[in-house]
């Protein structure tokens, strides 16, 4: 097929799915935090609140777009644009799966395959600081300026341990290309332990993984590092002067950054799209089992429902889950769906950890945050890199 037409189709699919994932990530976050706090979360708009993101989008779009008179107009318009652009660009180089053949067309599952993929991700996360800094400055408001400067200083301080944590598995894997990194984590030790980076000899990269996740929390301004933008600190920080769609852009940028950090952690440390145990021991049946169990749960709760409404909606969900389980059994689509399932499952687990931490931990004070970066994370990342390099040099 024509290269440009194929690229456009792939881009359309990825952008469509990614936008829906961003919208529903907010629904998942609200539901999970609600259940952690022993309440229910949104449940009125649509069954179990599933149409809540649609309601939120309609609300944000139809709100009045205020342009305060005291702001610097050029940068006020530029800042959310820059934030969203750099947050969404990183998704273009992430590989979702291996090379597949769909209707006679061979293509990679992923939009672009850069030889310097890891450096590009580091560069884009460095450029993402501009959105926050410009938003804080353009608002011409001392709280926004303080919030913007604190947030940007936090982001650049944590870029350093993040880069050092990324370099350590690269010493073992020997390439900067994201697809080659995942291909290097193929295979199993002794037949059943997966050869992911966190299990890889000569030095299992478990410390790098933890360091990368902590730095990822700080880079995306999530709890416990979200002092610069929390609602009850500094009057909501750098986005205090922003109204409807521009405010929505900052939040979309934050969720997109979260997904990017989770995807990069999956690719570098958790083996990308490779399954947990080999195909011959039946790892192709895991998605079938998960969806079938969800369907059984739905039917069970439909039998004695908590609300009369559920007598109708829960069986529908049960049938949908059974359909999904059946889809994973068709051998034609299995090579496409199985790697995608494992990739999404791993990214989903890390996103769940992000949301779980938000529901559980209190936030750091700003000086504690910066001290943690420079006196703890940076030396630990250096020592980790040194040990990895030493072991790689001694036992090639």
């Amino acid at each position: 097929m024509n290269y440009y037409l194929l690229s456009m189709i792939k881009t359309a699919i990825v952008v469509g799915i990614f936008m829906h994932v961003l919208a529903y990530l907010q629904w998942i976050e609200r539901k999970v935090i609600a259940h952690v706090q022993l309440r229910v979360g949104p449940r009125r708009v649509g069954p179990h609140g599933l149409l809540q993101p649609l309601a939120d989008v309609i609300k944000l779009v139809t709100k009045e777009d205020i342009l305060p008179s005291h702001v610097n107009k050029v940068f006020y318009f530029l800042a959310p644009f820059v934030a969203v652009t750099f947050a969404l660009i990183s998704i273009s180089i992430i590989p979702f799966g291996p090379e597949i053949t769909v209707a006679g067309v061979r293509t990679n599952m992923g939009l672009a395959d850069l030889n310097i993929g890891v450096l590009f991700i580091l560069g884009i996360s460095g450029l993402g600081v501009y959105g926050v800094a410009l938003a804080g400055w353009a608002s011409n408001n001392k709280y926004a300026l303080m919030g913007g400067l604190r947030s940007s200083a936090q982001m650049i301080s944590y870029e350093l341990p993040m880069a050092l944590a990324i370099v350590a598995p690269l010493l073992i894997l020997n390439t900067l290309n994201l697809r080659q990194i995942v291909n290097g984590q193929e295979g199993f030790y002794w037949g059943f332990i997966p050869r992911w980076s966190i299990f890889m000899m000569p030095f299992p990269q478990i410390f790098s993984f933890i360091l990368f996740l902590i730095a990822g929390f700080a880079e995306t301004n999530r709890v416990p590092f979200d002092l610069p933008e929390a609602e009850n600190e500094l009057v909501a920080g750098f986005h205090v002067e922003y109204a409807s769609m521009k405010f929505a852009s900052f939040f979309m940028a934050e969720y997109a950054n979260m997904v990017t950090v989770s995807a990069v952690a999956t690719l570098l440390f958790l083996g990308g799209w490779h399954p947990i145990f080999p195909q011959q021991y039946g790892s192709g049946l895991i998605p079938v089992l998960i969806f079938a169990a969800s369907a059984v749960l739905c039917f069970f709760h439909a039998a004695n429902p908590a609300r009369p409404f559920d007598r109708i909606t829960l069986p529908v969900f049960g049938v949908l889950f059974l359909g999904a389980a059946g889809l994973f059994l068709i051998p034609v689509v299995q090579p496409i769906l199985l790697p995608l399932f494992w990739f999404s499952a791993k990214v989903g687990v890390i996103l769940f950890v992000f949301i779980w931490v938000r529901a559980t931990l209190p936030r750091f004070r700003y000086d504690q945050l910066m001290r943690f970066a420079w006196t703890f994370m940076f030396p630990v990342a250096l020592i980790n890199l040194f040990i990895t390099g030493l072991l790689v040099a001694l036992f090639p």
Binding site: F75, L119, L122, G123, G126, L127, A133, L134, W137
Partner: protein
């Protein structure tokens, strides 16, 4: 295709460069410089320097210019006052500059020996592996010396920015 890409990014670089010189507020100049660096990163990719393009984005546009933007925001530098330029300079300056650029372009074209045109993908020696090999074998001494240089710069910046304890 290579020509169109070169012309687009060269135009962006020159326009952002002119913007840097012409704008009165330092922060507009800083963002124009980020634009120049982005356009130059794309040109490095066309010339086969993929590692240098990524290093330009990570180091220059992502760290050094953020430092500039921070300092401008912290010092709250206002716009510059207009300089009183004599009419001779105002009306002769830009045309003379264009004539100078034209002369420079002609001279460079004439003096440069004939070489193959710049095609994307013709130079494969700019990968991270090649640069690493060269950096750690042939250029090892400058590499170690730059690490000392960075240490001196860090010490200097910390000493200069420290509050005096009376």
């Amino acid at each position: 295709m290579d020509t169109i890409l070169f012309l687009i990014f060269a135009a962006i670089a020159v326009i952002c460069g002119i913007n840097l010189v012409v704008q009165t507020h330092p922060i507009s100049s800083a963002l124009s410089l980020v634009g120049v660096m982005g356009a130059l990163a794309a040109l490095y990719l066309l010339l086969g320097g993929e590692f240098i393009a990524a290093a330009q984005l990570v180091v220059y546009a992502g760290a050094i210019m953020v430092l500039f933007v921070f300092v401008i925001m912290l010092l709250n530098a206002g716009t510059e006052k207009r300089l009183n330029v004599r009419p001779l300079g105002k009306y002769l300056g830009a045309p003379l500059l264009l004539v100078f650029f034209g002369m420079m372009a002609y001279l460079i074209q004439k003096v440069m020996p004939p070489s193959s045109p710049v095609v994307f993908g013709a130079f494969q020696g700019g990968t991270a592996a090649e640069i690493g090999k060269s950096l750690f074998t042939v250029y090892l001494l400058p590499f170690e010396v730059t690490s000392v240089l960075i240490l001196i710069a860090i010490l200097g910046a910390i000493v200069l920015a420290r509050k005096e304890v009376d």
